[in-house]
């Protein structure tokens, strides 16, 4: 007897969005980076849109599927790169989940994007520091990474707001 899994409409939607995020993730991985750790993080735009249009649950699926599929396609699955990517994704999801709890008007996509970018790089940095390079000198690079995360977070947030405004 064949087991038939009937995907719900939400499942299909999450799959499409995760595929879109993965494509952006792959395209982004071909961009040269001036410094290890600096990356535009455009794939997170999809996560934030999903978070605002749907819910946190869907955003977790899209983000983690993106990390998994992206690593399988790039051949980095279970490598240190994958661990860093996964840590960043988990940290930014948790941070955005907390940021959503803010009462009142709360954050727009810009605020969420900044929170996500800062959490992402902080998580990755701590993992790199604890696991890969436990050297005090590493801290010298953190302010630079945080500044870039803030700037790129704002840019991504603006893109998010523009995309959301055009969505039906």
């Amino acid at each position: 007897m064949a087991l038939v899994l009937q995907p719900s409409r939400d499942d299909i939607r999450i799959a499409w969005l995760a595929a879109l995020a993965t494509s952006i993730h792959l395209l982004e991985s071909t961009l040269p980076s001036p410094l290890p750790g600096i990356k535009p993080g455009f794939a997170n735009i999809i996560t934030i849109i999903v978070l605002l249009r749907f819910n946190w649950h869907a955003a977790i699926w899209v983000s983690l599927l993106r990390v998994l599929a992206g690593s399988l396609l790039l051949g980095t699955f279970l490598s240190p790169t994958f661990m860093l990517s996964l840590t960043g994704a988990i940290c930014s999801l948790l941070a955005m989940g907390l940021a959503l709890q803010l009462p009142g008007k709360g954050f727009s996509a810009i605020g969420l994007s900044i929170v996500a970018a800062l959490a992402h790089i902080t998580g990755q940095f701590l993992l790199a520091y604890v696991w890969f390079i436990p050297h005090q000198g590493l801290w010298n690079i953190l302010p630079l990474l945080l500044i870039m995360a803030l700037i790129l977070g704002i840019i991504n947030g603006i893109i998010c707001n523009k995309v959301i405004a055009r969505l039906p």
Binding site: F107, G111, H135, Q136, W139, L150
Partner: protein
């Protein structure tokens, strides 16, 4: 952009700025150099310029102290990595010649990190 966004940008920018100021303090210069060899362990001040010969496992390593800095000048090892490492002048800096088993560690009042993490 909501009010919360503006506050977030303001707070994070200020936070990062303060963090950068604290992190990017210039390194503290060392006062002394500790030299390890198979035969001895010496503590030498960096105040006076001088040249020191240390007998290691292969032969004599020449170490120079100049303007509060220290480096390997010559060594009987093959690769000469110790010489290429150049001058060391900050607390916790470490230079080593593994084949000759001679190493230097800089010491000072405010140790930023120890040679294990270095």
């Amino acid at each position: 952009m909501t009010i919360a966004d503006r506050f977030l940008i303001l707070f994070s920018a200020t936070g990062i700025f303060l963090f950068a100021i604290i992190t990017w303090q210039p390194s503290v210069n060392a006062d002394q150099v500790e030299i390890f060899s198979p035969l001895e362990k010496k503590l030498i001040s960096l105040q006076l310029d001088k040249k020191i010969f240390i007998t290691g496992a292969l032969g004599k390593s020449e170490i120079s102290i100049q303007q509060h800095r220290v480096r390997f000048i010559s060594s009987p090892c093959k690769a000469k990595y110790c010489i290429h490492q150049g001058w060391a002048n900050h607390n916790g800096d470490f230079r080593a010649c593994l084949p000759n088993k001679v190493s230097l560690r800089l010491l000072g009042k405010n140790m930023q990190y120890d040679s294990v993490t270095f």
